[in-house]
Symmetry: C2
Subunit: 250 residues, 2 copies
C-alpha cells in the first residue's frame, strides 16, 4: 500500500511531527511505502487567487471554479498543484496530521483543499461523493488538541470533536475518499514541544504515540465512516423518502 | 454603531463584493460608520509560522501559542496583526462576508483566526466564551453558497449549513462575541460573476441583495445564537448536571 502523510504544523520538532515519525515507522514495518508531504516545509501557498494562474484568456473577473476548470482542461494548472495531484494519485491511503486550530485545520491545510481539489479535474457536479474521483482510496485525520478529552463533548467547554472534524471529513468524502474514523490525541499542551521537560505530559504523549502506532497496525480491519450518497437523494439533491431507512430522521 | 465588514473573496467584482456594497449602503443610510477590510486586497498572510515574528529569544522550536503570548506581552506583535486588532477594537459589529469553500471559510479567513486571535492578548484559559475579550460586541457571517437551498439539509446533497458554519460561529463565541444568525445566499453559481448575463440568476441574486439589505435594517431587534457558557460547566469543563435544563440532552 502507498501511504501519503500530509503534515500541517509549522514546527517539524512538534508532537505532530513526532506522530508522523511514529506513522512512518509503523507503516514501513508493515511493508507499506510511505511519503511525507510537509506543507510548511514545502512553503505551500494556501490562498486561491488570480495570480496563481497563467493567463489563458483576456482580463476578466476572477471566478475560481471557472479558472480551475479551464486550466485543468488546458493542462495549465500551477506546478505546485500538479505535484500535489500526482502525490494523491499515487496514494492508496492519505493521512492528514495537524493540530486543531480554531475548531478546524490550520489555514495552510484549508487552502490545500481550496487549491488542490480542482473543479473539473477532481470533481464535477456528477463526479462527487460515492461517484467521486478518489473512490477506492482511503483518507484519515490524525489530530492533536490542547484541551483534555473530557471537555470535548456537545455543550462541553471544548465542544464536540465530531462537529469540528465534520466539515473536513465531508470534504474528503465529497471527492470520493472512504474516510476512516479520526485519530485524536487530546491534551497536547503547548504543541507538545515542551514535553521532554514535563514528565506527566511526556508520559501522556508517549501513550498517544503508542495508541497511534497500535491503531495503524490494524487499519485494514476498519470500516469507513458512513455518509449519505447518490442513492439517498432525489433529483433535487434532497433526501429521498424512498432512501434507505438508516438516514431517516423524521 | 461602528461596523467592520471583513471580506474574503479574491474578486472584488464578485457577488460577495456586491453584498458588501449593499451592506455599506444600508448601514450608512441607517447612520452607522462602516469600514471594509478586504483581506485579499490587503494581501493578508494567513499562514502562522516562525518568520512572522521578531526573534525575542534564542532559537527554539516554534510553539505558536507561546510565541503569540510572548510577543503580545512584549508589545512586539507583527504590524499586520496590530492593524487587525485595532480594527476589531474599534468595531461594535463585525460582519464576515465570504463564499463557502470546502465546507468552511476560504483559507485567507481561516488564517485570520489562526494569526489575529492572539493567545494571551485576545484569549486565555479564563478569558474565553462568555468571559471573552470581545464580549458586548456582535459578529455575523454573510455567506454565499453555490448549491440551491433545498440541498442544504442534514443528509441532503450539500449537507447541513448549520454544521458547516458551527466551527466558525464557535470560534467567534470563544473570544466573546455575541453571534447573530448567519445570512446565507444560496444558489450563487459561478461566484455570481456571470450574473449580469444570465437573467434568471440575476433575478435570484437581486432578491438575495434585497433580503440582505432588509435584514440589516432590522439588526437591532435580533437575539444572538445561544451557546453553553461557564455557568454550564464544572471545573473539569464538562457539562454540569446542575447547569440550566436547556442544555440537558440525556
Amino acid at each position: 500500500m502507498n501511504v501519503l502523510i500530509i503534515l500541517a504544523h509549522p514546527e517539524r520538532a512538534s508532537f505532530n511531527g513526532a506522530l508522523v515519525d511514529v506513522a512512518v515507522t509503523e507503516l514501513k514495518r508493515a511493508g507499506h511505502t510511505v511519503e511525507v508531504n510537509d506543507l510548511f516545509a514545502a512553503g505551500f501557498e494556501p490562498v486561491e487567487q488570480a495570480d496563481r494562474y497563467a493567463k489563458l484568456e483576456p482580463d476578466a473577473a476572477f471566478a475560481p471554479l471557472d479558472v480551475q476548470r479551464t486550466h485543468y482542461e488546458n493542462d495549465a494548472l500551477p506546478a505546485d498543484i500538479e505535484r500535489e495531484l500526482a502525490m494523491l494519485d499515487w496514494a492508496d491511503l492519505v493521512i492528514f496530521q495537524f493540530p486543531l486550530w480554531w475548531h478546524a485545520q490550520p489555514a495552510i491545510l484549508k487552502g490545500w483543499f481550496d487549491r488542490v481539489m480542482v473543479y473539473g479535474g477532481r470533481y464535477t457536479s456528477r463526479m462527487r461523493y460515492d461517484h467521486g474521483y478518489f473512490r477506492g482510496k482511503r483518507a484519515m485525520l490524525s489530530v492533536t488538541a490542547g484541551s483534555p478529552e473530557a471537555t470535548f463533548q456537545p455543550f462541553g467547554r471544548a465542544g464536540d470533536m465530531v462537529a469540528w472534524l465534520w466539515p473536513i471529513h465531508s470534504s474528503l468524502y465529497y471527492v470520493g475518499f472512504d474516510v476512516l474514523a479520526p485519530q485524536v490525541s487530546y491534551g497536547v499542551q503547548g504543541g507538545g514541544i515542551r514535553y521532554q521537560q514535563e514528565s506527566t505530559l511526556a508520559t501522556h504523549l508517549e501513550a498517544c504515540k503508542t495508541r497511534w502506532s497500535t491503531r495503524l497496525s490494524r487499519l485494514s480491519d476498519e470500516t469507513p465512516i458512513p455518509f449519505a450518497g447518490w442513492a439517498d437523494w432525489n433529483d433535487e439533491g434532497v433526501l429521498d423518502r424512498a432512501a434507505p431507512l438508516r438516514w431517516r430522521l423524521g
